[in-house]
C-alpha cells in the first residue's frame, strides 16, 4: 500500500494545478493573427530537443498539461483542441473538452480522439514513447521557469499556425514592466509555502522554478534561493532562522490560513506574522507557468510591494 501512496504522492505538485480558481477569467487575450496556410509544413524543436515535422495545419489537437491547454486557447487554437487532461481548467471551456487522464494518460482515449498533434508535458513512465507510436506529431512542451514561458508561446504558435512570438513579447513586456517597477525597491524576504503537512519538511520553491522567478521579479528575496532543487523541502527551524518578512500561502486551498500559521509553534515570532504579512493566494494563478505569467507577476508584486502597485 505504501508504494501506491508514494506513487500518488509524486504528482502532488501537479495536483496543485487542479485547485479551483476563485478569480474571474483573465481578459481574453486577442487570438493571435489568423494563421496563413503558408506556415506549413513547419519544423519545431521541442523541450526534449527533438525536431518535429508538422506537415499541415493541425486540426485535432490533444493537450496534456494545464499550462499547454491554456497556451493553446490563448493562441486562438482552443476550438481545435479535441481533448485535454483532467487538470486543465483554464479557460473554463477547457473543462468541457473530453479528458484523457491526468497523472496517468489513457492512451486508448488519446488514439480514439484521432489527433494530428499531441502536445504534452514530460512523462518518465513511457507515455511519450507510446504516444509517438501514433500517427500524430508529438511535441513535448514542459515550461518550468519564466524564460520557458516565452519559449513555449513561440514554439506552440509555430506548431499550430498562430503568432506565438507576439504572445511571447506581450508576456515578456508585462514581466519587464513589473521588474522595472521593483528594480530599486527594498528586497523583503519571502517564504512561499506549497505544502506544510509536515513542518519539518515543508515544500517550497527553489531556483529554476517559475515562482522563484516571480519572487525575484516582484522585488523579493526567496529565503530558499540557495536550495538545490526547484521544489525543495525546508524545515520550520530554517524558516524561523531566515525570519521572512512575507509568507505566501499557496496551500490556502488545503485550508491553511494566516491564523493557522500564527498558531504554529514558534511562528508567532516571525516578522511576517507580527506585521500581518501572511497572504493566502489563489493557487490556480501561481500553480502553472502559463500565458497568465504576466498577471501572476503583477499579483505577486502587489503582495511584496503594495506601495508600488496601487
Amino acid at each position: 500500500m505504501t508504494r501506491r501512496i508514494v506513487l500518488l504522492l509524486a504528482p502532488l505538485l501537479f495536483l496543485l494545478s487542479c485547485v479551483p480558481s476563485a478569480s474571474p477569467a483573465p481578459p481574453s487575450a486577442a487570438p493571435a493573427a489568423a494563421a496563413s496556410a503558408a506556415a506549413f509544413p513547419a519544423s519545431v524543436t521541442d523541450f526534449q530537443g527533438r525536431s518535429v515535422a508538422i506537415s499541415k495545419r493541425p486540426e485535432r489537437i490533444v493537450s496534456i498539461g494545464p499550462s499547454n491547454t491554456e497556451f493553446l486557447f490563448t493562441l486562438g487554437a482552443g476550438d481545435r483542441v479535441v481533448g485535454d487532461d483532467d487538470f486543465s481548467d483554464e479557460p473554463p471551456a477547457a473543462k468541457t473538452k473530453p479528458h484523457v487522464g491526468g497523472v496517468k494518460v489513457n492512451l486508448e482515449k488519446v488514439v480514439s480522439l484521432k489527433p494530428d498533434l499531441i502536445v504534452t508535458v514530460k512523462f518518465s513512465d513511457g507515455t511519450i514513447e507510446a504516444l509517438s507510436q501514433s500517427t500524430a506529431a508529438v511535441l513535448v512542451v514542459d515550461p518550468q521557469n519564466a524564460a520557458d514561458v516565452a519559449r513555449t508561446a513561440s514554439l506552440l504558435g509555430k506548431a499550430v499556425g498562430a503568432d506565438g512570438d507576439k504572445l511571447a513579447a506581450e508576456i515578456q513586456a508585462r514581466l519587464d514592466a513589473v521588474k522595472a517597477k521593483t528594480a530599486n525597491a527594498t528586497k523583503p524576504k519571502v517564504f512561499h509555502e506549497i505544502d506544510a503537512s509536515d513542518l519539518t519538511k515543508m515544500y517550497t520553491v527553489g531556483p529554476g522554478s517559475f515562482i522563484d522567478d516571480l519572487i525575484k521579479l516582484a522585488g523579493g528575496t526567496n529565503i530558499a534561493a540557495a536550495a538545490k532543487s526547484q521544489y525543495p523541502t525546508i524545515s520550520a527551524e530554517e524558516v524561523v532562522r531566515a525570519d521572512p518578512d512575507i509568507v505566501v500561502l499557496a496551500d490556502s486551498a488545503y485550508g491553511t490560513t494566516a491564523e493557522a500559521v500564527a498558531a504554529r509553534a514558534g511562528w508567532s515570532a516571525l516578522s511576517a506574522v507580527k506585521n500581518k504579512r501572511v497572504y493566502p493566494v489563489d493557487g490556480n494563478l501561481f500553480s502553472r507557468p502559463g500565458p497568465r505569467l504576466g498577471a501572476a507577476a503583477e499579483a505577486y508584486a502587489k503582495l511584496v510591494h503594495p506601495e508600488l502597485f496601487k
Partner: protein, 332 residues
Amino acid sequence: VRGAPAIAVLAALLPVSIGGGILVGAVPLAPGDVFGALVGTADPSTTVIIRELRLPRVLAAALVGGALAVAGTLLQGLFRNPLADPYVTGTSAGAALGAVGVIALGSDLAATLVPLAAFVGALASALGVWQLARLGGRTTVLTVLLAGIVLTSFASALVTLLLFASDRLALRLRAVLDILTGGVAVRATSEVALAGLIVGCGVGLAIVLGRRIDAFAFGEETAATLGVDPERTTIAVIGAAALLTGAAVALAGLVGFVGLVVPHALRPIVGATHRTLALASFFAGASALVLADLGARTLFAPAELPVGVVTGLLGAPFFLLLLVRARRRELA
C-alpha cells in the same frame, strides 16, 4: 525492590537522551547556543528554534516511545505472549485508521479530534484482536499474530479506500503518508501537552493494573481465584493500551517494534512484575525513540528519514529472532 536500581538508571538516562536529541536539527547550532536557548541567554531566533520547535519534538518522541513501550508491556501481559505489541496486534493500524478518517473529514477538526479518533480506532482493534485470539478458548502466539495481521490488512485496505474516495485526503496526502510511515511531527506545543496528559493517565493505569496482570500469568482461572475479575481487568488493560497507542499514533503515526522490543529486553533485568516492568519500559522506550529519532534526522542529513523506518530496520530482525525462539520452544 527488584528493578529499582535499573529504573533509577533509566530515569536518569532520559534527560541525557533528550539533551542529545535537541543538539541536532535542520539549523546547525553549537552546543553552547543550545544551552543558551534553554537558560534564556541566546538570540531570539535560536531561542524559538530550541524551545518551541526542537524541544517539543524531542519531548513528543519521548512520549511516543514511552507510551508504545508501556502499551507493549500491557499487551504482552494480557496475551501472556512476549510477541505482542501495539504494532503487530493491529492496535496501531486501528489508531491510524481513526486518525486518517478524521483528517478526511476536515483539517479544522483534525487537530483536536485526531487523538480521540486514534484512541477509538485503537480500542476497537485491540478488542477485536482479543476476541479473535481467544476463539477456541485459548490464546496462542500464532492466533494473536494472525489476528493482528488480519486487522492490520483490513485497516490498511480501509485507509487506501479512504484515499481514493476522499478528495480532501487526495490534497492532504502527505499528512496521511506521515501517519503511515511514522514520523514525529508537532504542529503546536499544545499537542504535546495533551499527549503528555493522556500518556500520564495511561502509564498510571498500567501501574495500578500491574498486580492484576501479574495474576494473569498463571491463567485466567487462577487469576479469578486470586480475587481478580478477568473480564473487567482485560477491558481495563485493553483500554489503557488503546489510550497509550492512540496518543502515540496521533503524534507520530505508525512506529513499529518499540513496544515489542523494549519490554522484552527489560524483562531479564527488572523481572516480570508488571508494575516495575511498565515503569522501566516507559523510561527505556522514551530514551529509545528519542535516540531513534536523532538517528533518523542525522543518518542521511540534511534529509530526514521517517523514524518508523529506523525502528523497523532495528526492530524487525529482533522480532524474527524472538519468533524463531518461540517456535523452537513450542516444538520442543
